[in-house]
């Protein structure tokens, strides 16, 4: 029994933290936020070189073959740094490709993704708030897709889209390549400018079916949920530490504000809700590889809980900073925007609790 990280996992976290600290200070983040694409190819190349893109790609396809917990630890660091870029959609696409039926197609793309030659994303959600594989309206017929997806991470920047759709046999996954006929992407103006989303339309778009049934779709969703939970923890932890640091430097009424119990107790409440939540997403990430009967329900609960905690922590963080926290120049709103994204993307806390209740067979 060991509920902790290995030395390799701690090293992985440290490596990503150090890289992001030196390569992606918030000045660079802001430049990426203000760019058209929201994607900095050099930054992504640096992360690919660290092995981030291929972390969970099986070794036979050029990846590291690590576990979902390792991937979630990277997501935590991305959350800590409010790191911009296509990590999330790419990781969910890898999850879908790894779980799909067509090994040859998957192999081809996984190798390219691991080396950074190709960028991938996952397209599931349709309209607003529809993430259930049984409710998909995008249809496949004779090797062509028709339909629309509303919120696809970095679809316009991706070389391949892993698309959840349905045909006569029910739900499944299809691959659509960049530049395919009838594929159109439209950027969505989002509050979180560090993680871009596109609306995507398919009009008789050529596509290759790689999975039948909803298992691969659900697995990719569950991995996405735990990555959002980990990102939420990393971001909330950053907000807590930034605020604690601020509380021991900012002076009012002739003393540092951290000496006021009102401030101290608010910070303590943030820590009290936040710190134990780490273990919930750790467990969930571990379950996705090792405890299959608990994975789906835990992923739902973890996403819901961590998005609630992030919301509470970032609210207090901004309050405790006072007026500076409400300015554009001060960085806190970058994390507030991440919290907004993590809360709304792939279904709200209430949506996931509804699923968790159904899965419990109460």
């Amino acid at each position: 029994m060991d509920f902790g990280l290995t030395e390799d996992q701690i090293l992985l976290k440290d490596t990503v933290r150090r890289f992001l600290d030196s390569e992606c200070p918030t000045t660079r983040t802001r430049a990426i936020m203000e760019s058209d694409s929201g994607h900095d190819a050099d930054l992504w190349r640096g992360l690919v070189d660290l092995g981030v893109a291929g972390l969970t790609v099986p070794p036979e396809h050029g990846g590291s073959g690590l576990e979902i917990l390792d991937l979630a630890l990277v997501a935590e660091e991305m959350g800590w740094g409010a790191t911009p870029g296509p990590f999330l959609g790419n990781a969910m696409a890898i999850a879908a490709l790894t779980a799909c039926d067509d090994r040859a197609e998957a192999a081809r793309w996984l190798s390219a993704i691991a080396t950074g030659e190709a960028l991938a994303t996952l397209a599931v959600g349709e309209k607003i708030g529809t993430w259930d594989a049984d409710l998909l309206e995008t249809t496949a017929d004779g090797g062509a897709l028709t339909g629309a997806k509303s919120l696809v991470p970095y679809a316009g920047e991706s070389d391949v889209l892993v698309v959840a759709a349905r045909d006569a046999d029910g739900p499944g996954l299809w691959l659509v390549e960049r530049g395919a006929a009838g594929l159109a992407t439209t950027p969505v103006r989002g509050n979180d400018m560090t993680r871009r989303l596109d609306g995507v339309r398919f009009e008789q778009t050529p596509a290759v079916k790689i999975a039948a049934g909803r298992a691969a779709i659900d697995r990719a969703r569950d991995i996405g949920l735990v990555l959002l939970a980990a990102d939420s923890f990393g971001g909330a932890n950053r907000c807590l530490r930034m605020t604690a640091d601020y509380a021991v430097t900012r002076e009012q009424f002739g003393q540092i504000i951290g000496a006021f119990q009102g401030v101290k107790h608010q910070l303590a409440d943030m820590a009290t809700d936040l710190e134990p939540s780490l273990s919930l997403w750790w467990y969930t990430a571990h379950a996705l590889d090792h405890i299959p009967d608990k994975a789906e329900r835990h992923a739902a609960l973890a996403k819901a809980h961590l998005s609630d905690v992030y919301d509470m922590v970032v609210r207090y963080a901004i309050e405790l900073h006072g007026g500076i926290g409400f300015t554009w120049e001060f960085d806190l709103h970058l994390w507030f925007r991440r919290a907004l994204f993590n809360r709304a993307f792939m279904g709200t806390a209430a949506d996931h609790r509804r699923r968790a209740a159904a899965l419990a067979n109460w």
Binding site: F3, A268, Y283
Partner: protein
């Protein structure tokens, strides 16, 4: 991370079952009273068996290393390396077999480890094993009318007179003082020293002349805590743990164990499982409470927080086994888990619907009024061992590097 029940653990579970089948018979099982699990008192160890048969069994279980695993064998413990999975298996199997388990409460959970850390060899031999077996019961003499959150300002005094200390003063909120054999207490022995340096840690026989215990009634209606008055109470010179004036340091060790005792999620888990079962039975307007979408959302909300508390417990055990500092993860559990008890018990009350009106013991209520007792006991847990705002000070100062209050 490794949480799998490997062959080793499956084998361990078989061993525990075999041990229980051999040593705790059907007749023993039938004679074991049902623990009152809906109450904090029950969860904290109230109503456990300490008769001769139970003691004989516990000794066998300790000998096998199943109980009191963190206490060395030479002092009557099971002495095993920390292993949360094994501990979980033992707890599950003992519960299934209705076999006597570790006695919780302040003696075994707080004083015994404190004596192992700070006591003299004579004190360890004299008290630890008998405390673990429930043969000596303890109460904690810390708070005073004028010394609550500011505990170090306590004024009950002891003066050395020949070979004896003479104690005068008053303690308050002393749980179980009316039943306890002994008290561990903080008492001022060096009135001229700064307040933290003038306190000594005492072990006092409650039958000593001059001790007057007067019960206080809690909001639950029960009488579990007391005022304790000391008037020229004479105890032997060697009744102290640690050096004169070092009592505050010794008590820090005890408080750490108290935070761990209160700061685990087992009561919240038991109440949670109970409320889910209740929500599947109780119907409001012809619909099971568990089928109400609002209640489902509330139950799942609390469950996620509860799972976080439980897995944080796994994390702390792992850090402890590796002798690593837990930082914030070790400081927040008391506040987090008592908050959780509040959320869980309040939710249980709402699930009871109109039955929530019923007082403890009301036979028409599906819970016999037990949840309302648990709900009220939340405050007992939140205030015992340092009120919530004291916990917030500790978390802010030791966990987040904020300055001490003036």
């Amino acid at each position: 991370m490794n949480l799998s029940y490997s062959k080793e653990y499956e084998g361990f579970r078989r061993d525990v079952r075999q041990f229980l089948a051999t040593n705790w018979s059907d007749a023993d099982r039938a004679s074991a009273p049902e623990a009152d699990l809906q109450t904090v008192r029950g969860a904290m160890g109230g109503g456990v068996r300490t008769d001769q048969r139970a003691t004989e069994f516990r000794k066998q279980a300790i000998e096998r290393g199943y109980l009191y695993r963190s206490i060395p064998r030479q002092y009557g413990g099971g002495e095993q390396p920390p292993d949360p999975l094994k501990a979980t298996i033992i707890a599950e199997e003992f519960k299934r077999a209705k076999a006597p388990f570790e006695i919780m409460g302040q003696g075994p959970s707080m004083l015994a480890p404190t004596l192992v850390e700070k006591g003299t060899e004579e004190q360890r031999q004299r008290y630890v094993e008998r405390t673990l077996l429930g043969q000596i019961t303890w109460c904690q003499g810390y708070s005073e009318p004028g010394a609550g959150s500011d505990l170090a300002s306590l004024r009950t005094s002891a003066v050395l007179d020949g070979d004896e200390w003479v104690i005068n003063g008053q303690k308050i909120w002393t749980s179980n003082a009316h039943e306890a054999d002994m008290m561990f207490a903080l008492i001022r022995t060096e009135p001229d020293k700064p307040k933290h340096d003038g306190i000594t840690y005492f072990l006092i026989d409650m039958k000593t002349a001059g001790i007057d215990v007067r019960p206080l009634r809690q909001m639950t209606g029960e009488e579990d805590f007391n005022e304790v008055f000391f008037e020229d109470v004479r105890v032997p010179k060697d009744s102290i743990v640690g050096e004169r004036g070092q009592g505050w340091l010794v008590s820090r060790s005890t408080l750490k164990h108290e935070r761990a005792l209160i700061g685990n999620a087992s009561l919240a888990r038991r109440t949670f499982d109970g409320l889910v079962a209740m929500a599947q039975i109780i119907e409001v307007d012809g619909r099971r409470v568990i089928d109400d979408p609002v209640m489902r959302d509330r139950i799942a909300t609390v469950e996620a927080d509860l799972l976080a508390a439980e897995y944080n417990g796994f994390r702390l055990l792992t850090l402890g086994a590796k002798h690593q500092d837990a930082g914030l993860a070790g400081l927040v559990p008391k506040l987090h888990s008592t908050n959780l008890v509040y959320k869980v018990t309040r939710l249980a009350m709402d699930i009871l619907s109109d039955h929530g009106l019923c007082a403890p013991g009301e036979p028409s209520a599906p819970d016999m009024g037990g949840f309302s007792t648990a709900y009220m006991w939340y405050w007992g847990m939140a205030l015992g061992g340092g009120a919530p705002n004291i916990q917030r000070n500790i978390i802010g100062e030791r966990g987040l590097g904020l300055p001490r209050n003036v």
